[in-house]
Protein backbone atom coordinates (compact mmCIF):
# COMPACT_ATOMS: atom_id res chain seq x y z
CA UNK A 1 0.00 0.00 0.00
CA UNK A 2 1.46 3.36 -0.93
CA UNK A 3 0.14 6.61 0.41
CA UNK A 4 1.13 9.54 -1.66
CA UNK A 5 1.65 12.64 0.43
CA UNK A 6 -0.14 15.60 -1.05
CA UNK A 7 0.47 19.29 -0.76
CA UNK A 8 -2.50 21.55 -0.17
CA UNK A 9 -3.94 23.38 -3.16
CA UNK A 10 -4.95 26.31 -1.00
CA UNK A 11 -3.55 27.49 2.31
CA UNK A 12 -5.44 30.16 4.16
CA UNK A 13 -3.89 31.97 7.10
CA UNK A 14 -5.63 34.35 9.47
CA UNK A 15 -7.97 35.78 6.85
CA UNK A 16 -9.84 38.78 8.23
CA UNK A 17 -12.11 41.31 6.62
CA UNK A 18 -13.79 44.41 8.03
CA UNK A 19 -16.27 46.59 6.16
CA UNK A 20 -15.23 49.82 7.85
CA UNK A 21 -15.77 48.99 11.47
CA UNK A 22 -18.20 46.16 10.80
CA UNK A 23 -16.79 42.66 11.01
CA UNK A 24 -17.11 40.52 7.89
CA UNK A 25 -14.98 37.55 8.91
CA UNK A 26 -12.13 37.11 11.35
CA UNK A 27 -9.02 34.99 11.60
CA UNK A 28 -10.01 32.15 9.30
CA UNK A 29 -7.32 29.54 8.62
CA UNK A 30 -7.49 26.21 6.81
CA UNK A 31 -5.88 24.02 4.14
CA UNK A 32 -7.70 22.63 1.13
CA UNK A 33 -6.32 19.57 -0.67
CA UNK A 34 -6.74 18.60 -4.32
CA UNK A 35 -10.09 16.88 -4.87
CA UNK A 36 -11.46 18.05 -1.55
CA UNK A 37 -14.86 19.65 -1.07
CA UNK A 38 -15.13 22.08 1.84
CA UNK A 39 -18.58 23.19 2.97
CA UNK A 40 -19.15 26.49 4.80
CA UNK A 41 -22.34 26.65 6.85
CA UNK A 42 -23.62 29.15 9.40
CA UNK A 43 -26.29 31.66 10.19
CA UNK A 44 -27.23 34.55 7.96
CA UNK A 45 -24.73 37.40 8.26
CA UNK A 46 -22.04 35.17 9.76
CA UNK A 47 -19.52 36.08 7.07
CA UNK A 48 -19.75 33.16 4.67
CA UNK A 49 -20.03 35.21 1.48
CA UNK A 50 -17.42 37.66 2.73
CA UNK A 51 -15.01 34.81 3.33
CA UNK A 52 -15.72 33.31 -0.08
CA UNK A 53 -15.06 36.67 -1.76
CA UNK A 54 -11.77 37.07 0.07
CA UNK A 55 -10.74 33.54 -0.87
CA UNK A 56 -11.57 33.96 -4.53
CA UNK A 57 -9.74 37.24 -5.09
CA UNK A 58 -12.88 39.34 -5.33
CA UNK A 59 -12.43 41.22 -2.06
CA UNK A 60 -9.13 42.40 -0.62
CA UNK A 61 -8.95 41.12 2.94
CA UNK A 62 -8.03 43.52 5.76
CA UNK A 63 -5.37 41.03 6.82
CA UNK A 64 -4.28 37.43 6.37
CA UNK A 65 -2.96 35.42 3.46
CA UNK A 66 -4.28 33.13 0.75
CA UNK A 67 -1.62 30.88 -0.80
CA UNK A 68 -2.52 28.98 -3.94
CA UNK A 69 -0.52 26.16 -5.52
CA UNK A 70 -0.76 27.04 -9.19
CA UNK A 71 -0.46 24.61 -12.08
CA UNK A 72 2.79 25.91 -13.50
CA UNK A 73 4.22 28.62 -11.24
CA UNK A 74 4.35 27.06 -7.78
CA UNK A 75 2.77 28.74 -4.79
CA UNK A 76 1.20 32.14 -5.34
CA UNK A 77 0.46 34.60 -2.54
CA UNK A 78 -2.85 35.81 -3.88
CA UNK A 79 -2.90 39.37 -2.63
CA UNK A 80 0.79 40.02 -3.28
CA UNK A 81 0.80 39.32 -7.00
CA UNK A 82 -0.25 41.87 -9.59
CA UNK A 83 -3.88 42.38 -10.50
CA UNK A 84 -3.42 41.04 -14.09
CA UNK A 85 -1.74 37.93 -12.72
CA UNK A 86 -4.63 37.39 -10.32
CA UNK A 87 -7.16 37.89 -13.13
CA UNK A 88 -5.33 35.33 -15.29
CA UNK A 89 -5.41 32.84 -12.45
CA UNK A 90 -9.12 33.36 -11.96
CA UNK A 91 -9.74 32.77 -15.65
CA UNK A 92 -7.54 29.75 -16.10
CA UNK A 93 -7.56 27.84 -12.84
CA UNK A 94 -10.66 28.89 -10.94
CA UNK A 95 -14.39 29.02 -11.38
CA UNK A 96 -17.06 30.90 -9.45
CA UNK A 97 -20.67 29.76 -9.34
CA UNK A 98 -22.95 32.47 -8.00
CA UNK A 99 -26.25 31.93 -6.24
CA UNK A 100 -27.99 34.08 -8.80
CA UNK A 101 -27.18 32.86 -12.35
CA UNK A 102 -27.56 36.47 -13.53
CA UNK A 103 -24.36 37.31 -11.65
CA UNK A 104 -22.44 34.56 -13.40
CA UNK A 105 -23.92 34.59 -16.90
CA UNK A 106 -24.10 37.14 -19.68
CA UNK A 107 -27.81 37.39 -20.23
CA UNK A 108 -27.57 39.16 -23.60
CA UNK A 109 -25.64 36.46 -25.45
CA UNK A 110 -26.64 32.88 -26.32
CA UNK A 111 -26.02 29.82 -24.17
CA UNK A 112 -23.35 28.65 -26.59
CA UNK A 113 -21.63 32.03 -26.52
CA UNK A 114 -21.69 32.04 -22.72
CA UNK A 115 -19.52 28.96 -22.81
CA UNK A 116 -17.53 29.90 -25.91
CA UNK A 117 -16.41 33.29 -24.66
CA UNK A 118 -14.76 31.66 -21.67
CA UNK A 119 -12.72 29.53 -24.03
CA UNK A 120 -11.82 32.59 -26.07
CA UNK A 121 -10.73 34.37 -22.89
CA UNK A 122 -8.10 31.69 -22.39
CA UNK A 123 -6.91 31.87 -25.99
CA UNK A 124 -9.13 29.56 -28.08
CA UNK A 125 -9.58 30.97 -31.60
CA UNK A 126 -10.94 28.24 -33.85
CA UNK A 127 -14.69 28.85 -34.18
CA UNK A 128 -15.64 25.24 -34.99
CA UNK A 129 -13.73 23.85 -32.01
CA UNK A 130 -15.23 26.41 -29.69
CA UNK A 131 -18.73 25.60 -30.83
CA UNK A 132 -18.12 21.85 -30.52
CA UNK A 133 -16.84 22.24 -26.99
CA UNK A 134 -19.75 24.48 -26.06
CA UNK A 135 -22.22 21.88 -27.32
CA UNK A 136 -20.30 19.11 -25.55
CA UNK A 137 -20.51 21.01 -22.27
CA UNK A 138 -24.19 21.82 -22.72
CA UNK A 139 -24.71 18.06 -23.05
CA UNK A 140 -22.70 17.35 -19.93
CA UNK A 141 -24.96 19.65 -17.91
CA UNK A 142 -28.02 18.09 -19.57
CA UNK A 143 -29.01 20.96 -21.86
CA UNK A 144 -29.94 19.72 -25.32
CA UNK A 145 -27.97 21.09 -28.26
CA UNK A 146 -31.03 22.64 -29.90
CA UNK A 147 -30.89 25.27 -27.11
CA UNK A 148 -27.33 26.34 -27.99
CA UNK A 149 -28.42 29.56 -29.72
CA UNK A 150 -31.08 30.55 -27.18
CA UNK A 151 -30.59 33.34 -24.69
CA UNK A 152 -30.22 32.26 -21.03
CA UNK A 153 -33.26 34.42 -20.26
CA UNK A 154 -35.41 31.79 -21.99
CA UNK A 155 -34.08 29.08 -19.62
CA UNK A 156 -35.58 27.91 -16.34
CA UNK A 157 -33.71 28.72 -13.11
CA UNK A 158 -32.28 25.22 -12.90
CA UNK A 159 -31.11 25.34 -16.53
CA UNK A 160 -29.50 28.74 -16.00
CA UNK A 161 -27.66 27.34 -13.03
CA UNK A 162 -26.46 24.37 -15.07
CA UNK A 163 -25.35 26.72 -17.82
CA UNK A 164 -23.39 28.73 -15.28
CA UNK A 165 -21.67 25.54 -14.18
CA UNK A 166 -20.80 24.62 -17.77
CA UNK A 167 -19.44 28.14 -18.39
CA UNK A 168 -17.19 27.67 -15.37
CA UNK A 169 -16.01 24.16 -16.08
CA UNK A 170 -15.24 24.46 -19.79
CA UNK A 171 -11.80 25.94 -19.11
CA UNK A 172 -10.93 22.98 -16.87
CA UNK A 173 -10.43 24.84 -13.60
CA UNK A 174 -8.99 23.10 -10.56
CA UNK A 175 -10.82 25.04 -7.88
CA UNK A 176 -14.46 26.11 -7.85
CA UNK A 177 -16.12 28.53 -5.44
CA UNK A 178 -19.87 28.27 -5.02
CA UNK A 179 -22.18 30.50 -2.99
CA UNK A 180 -25.52 28.76 -2.38
CA UNK A 181 -25.62 27.15 -5.84
CA UNK A 182 -28.91 25.39 -5.11
CA UNK A 183 -30.59 28.29 -3.30
CA UNK A 184 -33.82 29.53 -4.83
CA UNK A 185 -34.47 26.36 -6.83
CA UNK A 186 -37.34 23.90 -6.48
CA UNK A 187 -36.52 20.79 -4.49
CA UNK A 188 -36.63 18.47 -7.52
CA UNK A 189 -34.52 20.87 -9.61
CA UNK A 190 -32.10 21.12 -6.69
CA UNK A 191 -31.82 17.35 -6.54
CA UNK A 192 -30.90 17.11 -10.20
CA UNK A 193 -28.33 19.87 -9.89
CA UNK A 194 -26.79 18.17 -6.87
CA UNK A 195 -26.49 14.86 -8.71
CA UNK A 196 -24.80 16.67 -11.56
CA UNK A 197 -22.40 18.51 -9.25
CA UNK A 198 -21.51 15.37 -7.34
CA UNK A 199 -20.75 13.52 -10.56
CA UNK A 200 -18.63 16.34 -12.00
CA UNK A 201 -16.69 16.91 -8.79
CA UNK A 202 -15.68 13.26 -8.53
CA UNK A 203 -15.05 12.61 -12.23
CA UNK A 204 -12.98 15.79 -12.70
CA UNK A 205 -11.27 15.62 -9.29
CA UNK A 206 -12.26 19.23 -8.60
CA UNK A 207 -11.56 21.04 -5.38
CA UNK A 208 -14.60 22.98 -4.21
CA UNK A 209 -15.45 25.51 -1.54
CA UNK A 210 -19.21 25.70 -1.23
CA UNK A 211 -21.33 27.96 0.95
CA UNK A 212 -24.70 26.48 1.76
CA UNK A 213 -27.34 26.83 4.44
CA UNK A 214 -28.67 23.39 3.58
CA UNK A 215 -27.12 20.69 5.78
CA UNK A 216 -28.39 17.94 3.49
CA UNK A 217 -26.47 19.53 0.61
CA UNK A 218 -23.42 19.76 2.85
CA UNK A 219 -23.76 16.10 3.86
CA UNK A 220 -24.00 15.04 0.24
CA UNK A 221 -21.21 17.11 -1.28
CA UNK A 222 -18.69 18.16 1.35
CA UNK A 223 -15.85 16.13 2.82
CA UNK A 224 -15.27 18.75 5.49
CA UNK A 225 -17.32 21.49 7.09
CA UNK A 226 -16.60 24.84 8.66
CA UNK A 227 -19.32 26.30 10.84
CA UNK A 228 -19.38 30.10 11.08
CA UNK A 229 -20.98 32.40 13.57
CA UNK A 230 -20.49 36.16 13.95
CA UNK A 231 -17.61 36.23 11.50
CA UNK A 232 -15.66 33.40 13.06
CA UNK A 233 -15.24 29.69 12.51
CA UNK A 234 -16.70 28.06 15.62
CA UNK A 235 -16.34 24.43 14.60
CA UNK A 236 -14.61 22.49 11.88
CA UNK A 237 -14.10 18.83 11.03
CA UNK A 238 -15.14 16.02 8.75
CA UNK A 239 -18.71 16.51 7.62
CA UNK A 240 -19.99 13.42 9.41
CA UNK A 241 -18.21 14.43 12.64
CA UNK A 242 -19.66 17.91 12.64
CA UNK A 243 -23.19 16.71 11.85
CA UNK A 244 -23.23 13.55 14.03
CA UNK A 245 -21.23 14.79 17.01
CA UNK A 246 -21.44 18.59 17.02
CA UNK A 247 -19.60 20.22 19.93
CA UNK A 248 -20.22 23.95 19.72
CA UNK A 249 -23.57 25.14 21.11
CA UNK A 250 -24.38 26.89 17.84
CA UNK A 251 -23.63 23.77 15.76
CA UNK A 252 -25.77 21.66 18.08
CA UNK A 253 -28.62 24.10 17.65
CA UNK A 254 -28.15 24.13 13.88
CA UNK A 255 -28.13 20.32 13.64
CA UNK A 256 -31.03 19.83 16.04
CA UNK A 257 -33.17 22.36 14.16
CA UNK A 258 -33.44 20.21 11.06
CA UNK A 259 -35.40 17.00 10.97
CA UNK A 260 -32.77 14.59 9.76
CA UNK A 261 -29.63 15.00 7.72
Amino acid sequence: MTMIPQTPLLRVEGLTHYYGSRLGCRDVSFDLYPGEVLGIVGESGSGKSTLLSCLSARQDPSSGRVLYQSRHDGEIDLYRVSEPRRRLLMRTEWGIVHQNPRDGLRMTVSAGANIGERLMAVGARHYGDIRDQAIDWLGRVEISDDRTDDLPRTFSGGMQQRLQIARNLVTQPRLIFMDEPTGGLDVSVQARLLDLLRGLVSSLGLSVIIVTHDLAVARLLAHRLMVMKEGQVVETGLTDQVLDDPHHPYTQLLVSSVLQV
Binding site: M1, D31, Y33, E36, D195, L220, L238, D245, Q252
Partner: protein, 240 residues
Protein backbone atom coordinates in the same frame (compact mmCIF):
# COMPACT_ATOMS: atom_id res chain seq x y z
CA UNK B 1 13.52 2.53 19.85
CA UNK B 2 11.95 -0.28 17.86
CA UNK B 3 10.82 -3.49 19.41
CA UNK B 4 12.06 -6.32 17.23
CA UNK B 5 10.36 -9.27 18.94
CA UNK B 6 7.94 -11.40 16.97
CA UNK B 7 5.02 -10.60 19.24
CA UNK B 8 2.08 -9.66 17.01
CA UNK B 9 1.27 -5.99 16.89
CA UNK B 10 -2.31 -4.89 17.36
CA UNK B 11 -4.15 -3.56 14.31
CA UNK B 12 -6.06 -1.22 16.59
CA UNK B 13 -4.89 -0.05 19.96
CA UNK B 14 -7.25 2.03 22.08
CA UNK B 15 -5.54 3.94 24.90
CA UNK B 16 -7.33 5.55 27.82
CA UNK B 17 -10.23 6.73 25.69
CA UNK B 18 -12.79 9.09 27.18
CA UNK B 19 -16.10 10.29 25.73
CA UNK B 20 -18.62 12.62 27.29
CA UNK B 21 -21.47 14.26 25.41
CA UNK B 22 -22.30 17.81 26.45
CA UNK B 23 -25.81 18.73 25.38
CA UNK B 24 -25.84 22.51 25.05
CA UNK B 25 -29.39 22.57 23.79
CA UNK B 26 -30.46 20.88 27.02
CA UNK B 27 -28.97 23.17 29.60
CA UNK B 28 -25.44 21.89 29.10
CA UNK B 29 -26.25 18.42 30.49
CA UNK B 30 -23.16 16.21 30.63
CA UNK B 31 -23.47 12.59 29.56
CA UNK B 32 -20.32 10.60 30.34
CA UNK B 33 -20.23 7.43 28.23
CA UNK B 34 -16.83 5.89 28.91
CA UNK B 35 -13.48 6.82 30.43
CA UNK B 36 -10.10 5.11 30.71
CA UNK B 37 -11.08 2.63 28.01
CA UNK B 38 -8.16 0.53 26.79
CA UNK B 39 -8.33 -2.26 24.22
CA UNK B 40 -5.99 -4.00 21.76
CA UNK B 41 -7.35 -5.85 18.74
CA UNK B 42 -5.03 -8.06 16.67
CA UNK B 43 -5.14 -9.07 13.03
CA UNK B 44 -7.31 -12.12 12.48
CA UNK B 45 -9.37 -11.83 15.65
CA UNK B 46 -12.92 -10.70 16.29
CA UNK B 47 -13.72 -8.82 19.48
CA UNK B 48 -17.38 -8.46 20.40
CA UNK B 49 -18.38 -5.36 22.35
CA UNK B 50 -20.70 -6.41 25.09
CA UNK B 51 -22.95 -4.45 27.40
CA UNK B 52 -26.50 -3.33 28.07
CA UNK B 53 -28.40 -0.98 25.81
CA UNK B 54 -27.10 2.55 26.17
CA UNK B 55 -23.76 1.40 27.58
CA UNK B 56 -21.86 3.06 24.75
CA UNK B 57 -21.02 0.24 22.34
CA UNK B 58 -22.03 2.15 19.21
CA UNK B 59 -20.40 5.29 20.60
CA UNK B 60 -17.12 3.39 20.97
CA UNK B 61 -17.33 2.00 17.44
CA UNK B 62 -18.06 5.46 16.02
CA UNK B 63 -15.17 6.90 18.04
CA UNK B 64 -12.81 4.33 16.51
CA UNK B 65 -13.96 5.46 13.06
CA UNK B 66 -13.55 9.11 14.13
CA UNK B 67 -17.21 9.74 13.41
CA UNK B 68 -17.50 10.79 17.07
CA UNK B 69 -14.75 12.86 18.62
CA UNK B 70 -13.49 11.49 21.96
CA UNK B 71 -12.50 14.00 24.63
CA UNK B 72 -9.11 12.41 25.30
CA UNK B 73 -7.09 9.26 24.74
CA UNK B 74 -5.84 7.60 21.57
CA UNK B 75 -7.09 5.26 18.87
CA UNK B 76 -3.93 3.99 17.20
CA UNK B 77 -4.57 2.31 13.87
CA UNK B 78 -1.97 0.52 11.77
CA UNK B 79 -2.29 2.14 8.39
CA UNK B 80 0.09 0.79 5.77
CA UNK B 81 3.55 1.30 7.21
CA UNK B 82 2.48 4.01 9.59
CA UNK B 83 0.34 4.38 12.68
CA UNK B 84 -2.43 6.96 12.79
CA UNK B 85 -4.12 8.21 15.95
CA UNK B 86 -7.73 8.71 14.88
CA UNK B 87 -8.32 11.09 17.82
CA UNK B 88 -5.68 13.64 16.84
CA UNK B 89 -5.36 12.95 13.08
CA UNK B 90 -6.19 15.62 10.51
CA UNK B 91 -9.41 15.18 8.47
CA UNK B 92 -7.20 14.38 5.52
CA UNK B 93 -5.47 11.51 7.38
CA UNK B 94 -8.76 10.18 8.73
CA UNK B 95 -10.20 9.99 5.22
CA UNK B 96 -7.12 8.09 4.05
CA UNK B 97 -7.52 5.57 6.89
CA UNK B 98 -11.21 5.16 6.05
CA UNK B 99 -10.43 4.63 2.38
CA UNK B 100 -7.63 2.10 2.77
CA UNK B 101 -7.69 0.58 6.22
CA UNK B 102 -10.92 0.81 8.15
CA UNK B 103 -14.36 -0.31 7.04
CA UNK B 104 -17.46 0.53 9.06
CA UNK B 105 -20.88 -1.03 8.69
CA UNK B 106 -23.34 1.17 10.53
CA UNK B 107 -26.52 -0.18 12.00
CA UNK B 108 -28.58 1.51 9.32
CA UNK B 109 -27.70 2.30 5.73
CA UNK B 110 -27.40 6.00 5.03
CA UNK B 111 -28.65 6.11 1.48
CA UNK B 112 -27.15 8.44 -1.03
CA UNK B 113 -30.19 9.75 -2.89
CA UNK B 114 -30.67 8.46 -6.41
CA UNK B 115 -27.50 6.36 -6.51
CA UNK B 116 -28.05 2.76 -7.61
CA UNK B 117 -27.44 -0.17 -5.29
CA UNK B 118 -24.70 -1.50 -7.54
CA UNK B 119 -22.86 1.83 -7.50
CA UNK B 120 -23.23 2.20 -3.73
CA UNK B 121 -21.54 -1.16 -3.24
CA UNK B 122 -18.86 -0.59 -5.91
CA UNK B 123 -17.98 2.96 -4.83
CA UNK B 124 -15.39 2.22 -2.08
CA UNK B 125 -13.35 0.12 -4.53
CA UNK B 126 -13.61 2.69 -7.31
CA UNK B 127 -12.43 5.38 -4.90
CA UNK B 128 -9.36 3.24 -4.26
CA UNK B 129 -8.60 3.19 -7.97
CA UNK B 130 -10.03 -0.21 -8.94
CA UNK B 131 -11.29 -0.24 -12.53
CA UNK B 132 -15.07 0.40 -12.47
CA UNK B 133 -15.89 -2.87 -14.25
CA UNK B 134 -13.86 -4.92 -11.81
CA UNK B 135 -15.42 -3.06 -8.88
CA UNK B 136 -18.91 -3.71 -10.22
CA UNK B 137 -18.10 -7.39 -10.72
CA UNK B 138 -17.12 -7.62 -7.06
CA UNK B 139 -20.29 -5.72 -6.11
CA UNK B 140 -22.45 -8.12 -8.14
CA UNK B 141 -20.82 -11.12 -6.47
CA UNK B 142 -21.47 -9.71 -3.00
CA UNK B 143 -25.06 -8.71 -3.76
CA UNK B 144 -25.72 -12.18 -5.16
CA UNK B 145 -24.22 -13.80 -2.12
CA UNK B 146 -26.38 -11.64 0.13
CA UNK B 147 -29.48 -12.58 -1.88
CA UNK B 148 -30.34 -9.10 -3.15
CA UNK B 149 -32.55 -9.77 -6.18
CA UNK B 150 -30.89 -8.67 -9.40
CA UNK B 151 -33.86 -6.52 -10.38
CA UNK B 152 -33.03 -4.27 -7.42
CA UNK B 153 -29.40 -3.59 -8.36
CA UNK B 154 -30.15 -0.65 -10.64
CA UNK B 155 -32.45 0.99 -8.08
CA UNK B 156 -31.55 3.35 -5.25
CA UNK B 157 -32.10 1.54 -1.93
CA UNK B 158 -34.24 4.29 -0.38
CA UNK B 159 -37.40 2.24 -0.92
CA UNK B 160 -35.93 -1.14 0.09
CA UNK B 161 -37.00 -3.07 3.18
CA UNK B 162 -34.93 -2.72 6.35
CA UNK B 163 -33.28 -6.10 5.83
CA UNK B 164 -32.49 -5.38 2.18
CA UNK B 165 -30.94 -2.03 3.09
CA UNK B 166 -28.88 -3.67 5.79
CA UNK B 167 -27.56 -6.23 3.31
CA UNK B 168 -26.63 -3.50 0.82
CA UNK B 169 -24.79 -1.81 3.67
CA UNK B 170 -22.93 -5.03 4.47
CA UNK B 171 -22.04 -5.61 0.82
CA UNK B 172 -20.57 -2.10 0.68
CA UNK B 173 -18.64 -2.65 3.92
CA UNK B 174 -17.14 -5.91 2.65
CA UNK B 175 -16.33 -4.70 -0.86
CA UNK B 176 -12.78 -3.66 0.05
CA UNK B 177 -10.57 -6.13 1.96
CA UNK B 178 -10.03 -3.67 4.82
CA UNK B 179 -7.46 -4.66 7.47
CA UNK B 180 -9.89 -3.41 10.14
CA UNK B 181 -13.67 -3.88 10.15
CA UNK B 182 -16.12 -2.21 12.52
CA UNK B 183 -19.56 -3.81 12.51
CA UNK B 184 -22.57 -2.40 14.37
CA UNK B 185 -25.23 -5.11 14.66
CA UNK B 186 -24.57 -6.54 11.19
CA UNK B 187 -26.93 -9.48 11.70
CA UNK B 188 -29.85 -7.61 13.23
CA UNK B 189 -33.01 -7.64 11.11
CA UNK B 190 -31.73 -10.49 8.89
CA UNK B 191 -33.31 -13.90 8.37
CA UNK B 192 -31.43 -17.09 9.23
CA UNK B 193 -29.97 -17.69 5.78
CA UNK B 194 -28.66 -14.14 5.41
CA UNK B 195 -27.37 -14.11 8.97
CA UNK B 196 -25.36 -17.24 8.14
CA UNK B 197 -23.93 -15.52 5.04
CA UNK B 198 -22.85 -12.49 7.04
CA UNK B 199 -21.16 -14.74 9.62
CA UNK B 200 -19.35 -16.48 6.76
CA UNK B 201 -18.17 -13.13 5.40
CA UNK B 202 -16.87 -12.20 8.85
CA UNK B 203 -15.08 -15.54 9.21
CA UNK B 204 -13.47 -15.10 5.79
CA UNK B 205 -12.36 -11.58 6.74
CA UNK B 206 -10.70 -12.95 9.89
CA UNK B 207 -8.99 -15.68 7.87
CA UNK B 208 -7.41 -13.13 5.56
CA UNK B 209 -6.14 -11.32 8.66
CA UNK B 210 -8.68 -8.60 9.31
CA UNK B 211 -9.14 -7.31 12.83
CA UNK B 212 -12.89 -7.24 13.46
CA UNK B 213 -14.65 -5.28 16.18
CA UNK B 214 -18.36 -5.94 16.29
CA UNK B 215 -21.57 -5.50 18.20
CA UNK B 216 -23.80 -8.56 18.03
CA UNK B 217 -27.15 -8.46 19.67
CA UNK B 218 -27.69 -12.10 18.87
CA UNK B 219 -25.81 -14.45 21.25
CA UNK B 220 -25.54 -17.24 18.67
CA UNK B 221 -24.02 -14.92 16.09
CA UNK B 222 -21.60 -13.65 18.71
CA UNK B 223 -20.61 -17.18 19.68
CA UNK B 224 -20.06 -18.09 16.04
CA UNK B 225 -17.51 -15.38 15.18
CA UNK B 226 -16.22 -13.66 18.34
CA UNK B 227 -12.91 -14.79 19.82
CA UNK B 228 -13.48 -12.76 22.95
CA UNK B 229 -15.81 -10.27 24.55
CA UNK B 230 -15.00 -6.76 25.63
CA UNK B 231 -17.28 -5.33 28.27
CA UNK B 232 -18.53 -1.81 27.74
CA UNK B 233 -20.00 -0.78 31.06
CA UNK B 234 -22.23 2.21 31.60
CA UNK B 235 -20.53 4.98 33.54
CA UNK B 236 -22.60 5.81 36.61
CA UNK B 237 -23.72 9.37 35.98
CA UNK B 238 -22.25 11.68 38.54
CA UNK B 239 -24.16 14.48 40.11
CA UNK B 240 -22.74 17.74 38.87
Amino acid sequence: MTNQTNAPRPAVSVRDLEKTFVLHTQGGARLPVFAGLTLDVFPGECVALHGPSGAGKSTLLRSLYANYKPGSGQVLVRHGDSTVDMVSATPHQILAVRRHTMGYVSQFLRVIPRVSTLDIVAEPLITLGTAPEEARARARALLTRLRIAERLWSLAPATFSGGEQQRVNIARGFSVPYPVLLLDEPTASLDAANRATVLELITEAKQRGAAVIGIFHDADARAAVADRLFDVLPVPSQAA
